[in-house]
């Protein structure tokens, strides 16, 4: 076979220094410094591993990634190196295996990932790892996505030769508010220790004891409680660290994952929403090296329970003599149109939300235009950011709101509040916000003859409203948002909205139509195409082109502290990245 097809070389401008490496008999080229495990991965020869993680340092302590390796022997003085049939120097195979995770490739190196030696050592490592491992799989939350289970099926013996008593260790240990530890299941890979020390800057985990008694523990008087603690649960290859929130809720093989975007702050961490039927059970980060690397914060990750809430609005309602009555969508939409059409623009206000998707905000803008009002704004949510991922802007789509509505979020709120307190507003549309929680006074809201709330939860402002329209939550919709770094990202529908609740964008579109507008927009793709035609930043894009990882559309000077540090560590060769 003619030599080497180049492996995907890095995009860096100076041509990378390439070396020839033979993997399972095929010669390939890799940039110098590539870890053997990554080279094998690129050659589609996955090497089983536990302790190695591309975003963490590589201590090489689990030994699962052992492979057979060889180098061309150094020729004696005057001797020509022997060549194989590809014209490459012949490899002298080493009698003992090496770990693929911490070693880098070299010119002329040979790697065998499927040889007898490699298979034998994997079998041996698996046997050692399983010696003291409990028979917990039926009660272990990791079962079904457990590396130990997977590799023991692929590389293990299938039967235990161990006849002694297993070492007993602490089980069901409370090490933090959100994470639980089972020491018997721990395989001492130290990924969690490295994460807390290297990424979260809160080194609270460590090993105590020695040999087969090695035990993972939190340092005395410390707890694993920082806002990134649940990432340790994701990277733990076994069920030693599990999430208190997800504990015993559902077996993982029942869950379907949907690509989504976290709504917790403007970072827009990429994540997967795991649901069974129409119930969400957990959310996990999805790798995106331009946004959140492989991590996300606990606050955002756990902020989904309201979607399953019993307080969800399920039917459109109109107030009749002080009491809300369930009505049809047609009547409810018509009631809003009846209340708003014919009212002077300055007597109408629309308070939308920067938690809405771009597509929804597009209809908000249309609605404002058709009702002739300038009083349209979103509620800003400024909080505290941290030195990792969490952004100070707690709205996921402030940039989208700014771009589409054409004004700084919150700049018109003072004016609207002023009009409201003077009783000048006859129609107020609260779209996706609970006004009482956003600084509006109950006595002001009571002055409004027609208060319309479009929300997902039965809250106090919905109670005050004349018309209530049940929309859908983030996990129930498709749409796009722009995060604080100006990246346009997409989210998909993971579950269905309860009862008669409808897609928020469809409700808004129907409102626009009922108020005299017209458009033939029937799918979110159509809406985005219209947006792309109207908003210069979206030019040339379509909903499909946004892709799973998003595309940058705006220039902002926002930096992501965690990613900056990862870049630095990658440049130093500490991590693979």
């Amino acid at each position: 076979m003619p030599a080497p097809e180049a492996a995907p070389a890095p995009a860096a401008p100076p041509p990378a220094d390439l070396v020839n490496v033979q993997i399972d008999g095929v010669w390939l080229k890799f940039p110098k410094g590539t870890r053997m495990i990554e080279a094998c991965k690129q050659a589609k020869k996955e090497v089983p591993h536990y302790c190695y993680h591309p975003k963490l340092s590589s201590p090489g302590n689990c030994r699962m990634c052992l492979v057979e390796m060889g180098m061309p022997p150094r020729p004696a003085p005057g001797q020509e190196p022997e060549k194989d049939e590809h014209g490459m120097p012949k490899i002298g195979w080493m009698p003992r295996p090496v770990i693929a995770c911490a070693n880098t490739v070299a010119e002329g190196m040979g790697i065998r990932t499927e040889s007898t030696l490699t298979q034998e050592v994997r079998k041996g490592v698996m046997e050692f790892l399983l010696i003291n491992h409990p028979l917990d799989c039926p009660i272990c939350d990791q079962a079904g996505e457990c590396r130990l289970q997977e590799f023991s099926v692929e590389h293990g013996k299938g039967e235990s030769r161990f006849r002694e008593e297993k070492v007993k260790k602490p089980k069901n240990v409370d090490i933090g508010p959100r994470v639980r530890l089972d020491d018997e299941r721990c395989i001492m890979c130290s990924r969690c220790i490295r994460f807390t020390a290297e990424i979260a800057d809160a080194p609270v985990l460590g090993f105590t004891e020695r040999g087969s008694y090695t035990t993972l523990a939190v340092h005395p008087g410390k707890r694993l409680e920082h806002n990134y603690s649940l990432n340790t649960v994701d990277i733990c290859p076994v069920g030693a660290l599990t999430s208190n929130d997800f504990r015993f809720q559902q077996r993982v093989w029942f869950l379907t994952e949907t690509n989504s975007i976290c709504q917790g702050c403007g970072r827009g961490c990429n994540m997967e929403t795991h649901a069974r039927g129409d119930t969400i059970y957990r959310q996990t980060p999805r790798e995106n090296n331009d946004v959140n690397s492989n991590w996300m914060c606990d606050r955002g990750r756990l902020d989904f329970h309201f979607v399953n809430s019993e307080f969800r609005l399920t039917d459109p309602m109109v107030k009749n003599q002080g009491k809300h009555e369930v009505t049809s969508w047609k009547k409810a939409i018509q009631a809003v149109a009846n209340a708003a059409v014919g009212v002077k623009g300055e007597e109408i206000a629309i308070i939308a939300s920067a938690r809405m998707t771009n597509e929804e905000l597009f209809f908000v803008k249309q609605l404002a235009k058709i009702l002739g009002t300038e009083n349209v704004d979103v509620i800003p949510r400024l909080g505290e950011g941290d030195n990792y991922l969490s952004a100070a802007d707690k709205n996921p789509n402030s940039n989208g709101a700014k771009l589409i509505l054409g004004s700084e979020p919150g700049s018109k709120l003072a004016g609207i509040t002023e009009l409201m307190s003077r009783g000048r507003l006859r129609v107020v549309l609260a779209l996706g916000e609970n006004l009482l929680k956003c600084g509006f006074e109950r006595r002001d809201l009571e002055k409004i003859p027609s208060l319309v709330t479009l929300h997902i939860l039965a809250n106090a402002s919905a109670e005050l409203s004349q018309i209530v329209l049940p929309g859908n939550a983030y996990a129930e919709k498709r749409g796009s948002m722009i995060n604080v770094t100006g990246r346009l990202q997409r989210m998909d529908r993971a579950v269905n909205a309860p009862g008669n609740a409808r897609d928020t964008w469809e409700i808004l579109r129907d409102l626009v139509v009922a108020c005299g507008g017209s458009n033939g927009l029937h799918s979110i793709e159509d809406v985005f195409s219209r947006l792309a035609a109207e908003v210069p930043a979206f030019q040339g894009l379509s909903f499909a082109k946004i892709g799973d990882l998003g595309v940058p559309v705006l220039e902002t000077d926002e930096k992501i502290p965690l990613l900056e540090r990862e870049k630095e560590r990658k440049a130093k060769g500490i991590i693979v990245g």
Partner: protein, 181 residues
């Protein structure tokens, strides 16, 4: 589609008038009557049992596949740990499990998990025995109960209490949740 012409059989006159067939039938009937008569005379009658007044339950083989049910062990411990494998494997999706955590003051707290609710919809169940086969805890068995009736769909759903009633106690199974584990 190809058309195949089938030749009608040529029938003799007695066949056309059903005379010979009549005698054939009579022969079968009389031979059965004679055999029954001989059995009664020899005191070994084979007769139809009057189900449900009479039942043959003691003759059911051990591998009989009746209603699936949950069992407890010799320490009265619920063997099921709600791993939900049976729920996954069940071909007609008859099983619905709500997992729960065992409280820390329970004597079996170390098992950590057991079903809060366990339902088998006996309208769906096809008595295939997959749940018994897949169970890693030897907690669910197909018993010899076959007369599962009810007046409503709801009555046909066996809840946890009912499942343990049917299942009862099973001793001598593997007990991995003892001290040695």
């Amino acid at each position: 589609m190809a058309i195949i012409t089938v030749q009608r059989p040529k029938l003799a006159w007695h066949e056309k008038a059903f005379i010979s067939t009549l005698f054939k039938g009579l022969k079968i009937t009389l031979s059965h009557a004679l055999r029954t008569f001989l059995q009664i005379a020899g005191k070994k009658p084979k007769v139809t049992m009057e189900y449900p007044e009479q039942k043959w339950d003691d003759q059911l083989p051990d591998y009989y596949r009746g209603a699936p049910a949950l069992v407890t062990d010799e320490h009265e411990r619920e063997r099921c740990v709600s791993c939900q494998l049976c729920e996954f494997i069940c071909p007609p999706k008859a099983i619905t499990i709500t997992p729960g955590e065992i409280p820390s003051d329970d004597p079996w707290a170390k098992v950590e998990k057991r079903p809060k609710e366990f339902e088998i919809d006996m309208i769906r169940c096809i008595y295939c025995g997959m749940c018994e086969e897949v169970c890693p805890e030897q907690a669910i068995f197909l018993r010899k109960d076959y007369a599962i009736t009810g007046l409503s769909r709801k009555e046909m759903v066996h809840d946890k209490k009912r499942l343990y009633e049917i299942g009862g106690q099973r001793v001598g199974l593997v007990n991995k949740w003892n001290e040695l584990k």
